[in-house]
Amino acid sequence: MALLEIRNITRRFGSLEAVKDVTLDIEAGEFFTLLGPSGCGKTTILRMIAGFDAPDAGELYLDGRPLAGMPPEKRPVHTVFQSYALFPHLTVAGNIAFPLEMAGRSRDEIRRRTTETLALVHLEDKGDAFPHELSGGQKQRVALARGLVNKPRLLLLDEPLGALDAKLRERMQGELIALQREVGVTFVFVTHAQQEALALSHRIAVMNEGRIEQLDVPEALYSTPKNRFVADFIGTINLIAAAVVEASRHGLRLAAPGLGEIAAPVHGAVAVGSNGALAIRPEHLRISGHADRAGLKNHFAGAVVEYLFLGDVTVYKVRLDNGLLLEALATNAGPGRARFHEIGDRVSVEWRHDAGVFLPD
């Protein structure tokens, strides 16, 4: 039995369906992420788990018990708010002790656990400080400590890193992973930043307009997106319109208008004749300077229109002869040289027959 079971929940605000028939299971010990663009219903789901809102239809179960009608203070679920929501009139130690006091713990236990948790988030010397005396990163840590101190079954985190600058965000990502591993509390994390989700999560539910588009481990979401929304939302991807000519156990034969035939791998069943697009990542494309002498099975001629030198890699934009614009990534691992092609160069774009994924319309 999963720790948290969400069964067909729907939430309407007037005529807007903010959450549409969402079903998912969250396992104990997991770092689970709800990922999606702003306004897709992530916060609404968290609020229903925390007890600040209730679904119009569907049920939630925690440890097998229904949550309906249970007020927030009775749920063993704590939240880290994006604004941190620290109590301004209490010290750092007072903030962290708050949930323990509410739970009626003894004085000794409160003191011991507060000290332990301060150490856990590296704020041993800040116990007597007030929230307004802290930096953004320190406030973030206090909010985390306060959410974890009373060992909730579930910790909800609503875009907790959103207010931090890029450098700090990266460091906090590392700390979050370490912290979750150390305390073993189940995290439900919400973000609109796909890289953050990929870096942190055990599993990710990609949401769009109140629906779950795909629920998978990060690697699978990245390599085999189920539809165009997921393919587009996670990372960068090239979409090549094509129709299925032949489908077998070994692979697909696709026909791309103006390009010709493409060999692609099979992921699930696709019907011959169906239209769609081959989605392929920039790092799976190779650019060769010899437009006419191809090495791989899938190869198409074009011209370099732009390149972006990013240090470790260079991104090339190549316009194929049928007008399609593709993005290809070249690693700059060789010594000295980092630029292999100039704007206007005739090149061949190539990829393996088992790269990419076909997404039917």
Binding site: A50, G51, F52, P71, P72, E73, V77, H78, T79, F81, S83, A85, L86, F87, P88, H89, F98, P99, M102, A103, R146, G147, N150
Partner: protein, 258 residues
Amino acid sequence: MKRGFWLWAAGLATYAFLYVPLAVVVLFSFNDSELNASWVGFTTRWYGKLLGDADLLQAAANSLLIAIVSSTIATVLGTMAGIALHRWRPPLLPFLVLTPVAMPEILLGVSLLLFFRQVLDLTLGLFSILAAHITFSLGFVAIIVRARLAGMDESIFEAARDLGATPWRTFTRVTFPLIVPGIVAGFLMSFTLSIDDFVITFFVAGVGVTTLPLQIYSLIKVAVTPEVNAISTLLMALTLTLIALALRFAPETLRKSA
């Protein structure tokens, strides 16, 4: 440069206009002469004379009692109103609560008088004065408390619930401590308004009970004696102290509600 000079001049003139008359009152309360005409010498005998004036002492005692009772009740009710206005954001209620604040005093005085006499058929006296003072103070407290709440991150109240606090404990542990400065400022404000009020009290006091401002008014109908200067000076000192305290407790709250 020039603009700065004129601004300074205008500012100085304004302050002079406000405070010179007050300074004259204070000065002449220490003047050793029956007439408010010219400076004769320093004395504190007018203050001593105040202590012998039984009517004045009774009026001062009434004023203090009314101020303490009315501002306490107005603070409790006004705080509840301020919280309710913030939490439920009712459409018409803010308007109704804030009306007494903006309403011309004379209108409020007349309408309260009519209400007490015609509708309730009340004998005017201590009770009607109290009711009137509570009526006009309550709105100020509500505004200050609401402004205090509006300046706060809403999510801290949800955070309290989320971390295991019942609604009541959320109030006692989070909401109340955070609005205390606003409540204190509101109380001091009500107290000042009550102890100084003349117009409304004049209408609803009836014949039995006199307050300090009413008593001063009846004294100056005869003549502006040094005794009046002395009692005015004391009242002024009390008012300024209360305002200073209110500003000290919640400067940002007052600025927001102003």
